[in-house]
Assembly symmetry: C2
Homo-oligomer: 219 residues x 2
């Protein structure tokens, strides 16, 4: 089967930057490419948009096919279309991003990719195509969104915390997402002012030091 047009058409892909916190550090989900070009290179997951699906649906589908990750709230980052960004043919990609918890997430043994793994953002491999640029843009956007307003993205930050958490744990999560250290007192004022924290009147136990108060959050 082949498809013929009167004018040349570019291919259109969706690429997805999936961020998570693992081991206290910001990670991104990458796949190992199964085919050329950049076969065996690492890349952000993505693939060709089908003709009857919306961009965001294509992104979701590709993400699930390549990594097993489903049900994530994607946000569009923008379109990238430098003419030679793909050596095969003209490929324009629409980039999306999301922030998801990764702990109980099962990375599919990759039907459409040779491998799928979480990478520390501070220890990235060389990436295929212009995915380093896309990822850098996504990283920047993430840092802005996490604290600047109480958005979906910011809410996702709490998914990295257990049901009952200490304020120090919460601060560590936000520091990781923003990529910078925060002042303890200012952070506590901020989180109390912007989120509905419930003081559980419980303390941590088993720590080596002073027990910390436990909180939960309501949205």
């Amino acid at each position: 089967m082949s498809y013929t047009y009167d004018y040349p058409h570019p291919a259109v892909t969706a690429d997805i930057c999936i961020f998570s916190i693992r081991d206290g550090k910001l990670h991104v989900l990458l796949i190992k490419r199964l085919v050329d070009p950049f076969k065996d290179s690492w890349a952000i997951p993505g693939g060709f948009i089908k003709m009857d699906e919306d961009l965001i649906d294509g992104a979701r589908r590709e993400l699930e096919e390549e990594t097993g990750v489903a049900d994530v709230p994607l946000e569009q980052l923008g379109a990238y279309g430098t003419p030679d960004r793909d050596p095969r043919e003209r490929v324009i990609t629409v980039a999306f991003m999301a922030l998801v918890p990764s702990d109980q997430m099962v990375l599919a043994a990759a039907t459409d990719a040779a491998d799928a793994r979480w990478f520390d953002m501070d220890d990235l491999p060389k990436l295929a195509f212009d995915h380093d640029r896309i990822l850098a843009d996504a990283r920047e956007r993430l840092a802005h969104k996490v604290t600047n307003r109480v958005t979906e993205t910011a809410r996702a930050a709490f998914q990295f915390l257990p049901e009952k958490f200490t304020l120090a744990q919460a601060q560590a999560v936000f520091e990781t997402l923003k990529g910078e250290d925060l002042d303890k007192r200012n952070f506590r004022k901020w989180i109390a002012a912007n989120w509905d924290l419930v003081d559980l009147k419980e303390k941590t136990t088993g720590g080596r030091h002073r027990p910390a108060a436990l909180y939960s959050v309501e949205f």
Copy 2:
């Protein structure tokens, strides 16, 4: 000549929202479509990306071909790709926007469009495709960009002012761009704090009322 692929490809277009102020009101540049679908409908200018040009270059080219408008600093708005947004075939569009002065601008008698005209944003015709949505998104973004930071877009606002202008004139421009009235004193504080105004020590003459001080701006 025809082009054949192993799997279906969407077409990719660039569409451009060009804003200007005319007669004190926010206008947008629209073209009358020459061909079906939506032949004779008004639409935001745009067209198919060529295979060897970057998205933004394609946007610039289409804009010039359809309206004669050149040399505008475009900013990407995002990609729109609902499957049935174009009845012919699958078309994904990347939207751009810009704010430009329109007074001495010559609208080409449209090589690629039946007509090109400025429309008052408060008196728009029915638009082709999903251009009403794209335009609404662009309008919203414009309002935010104009005052929130001292960006390229904000700087463009001064192009709607003569070399020597009064603060009332400047306020009118920013009110038009934001789409809301501003407080006179607050506006004067803001413009003085954020822009390098030069007090020309001149006054308007010939007005029916109290003369106003004239300023120029330096960037």
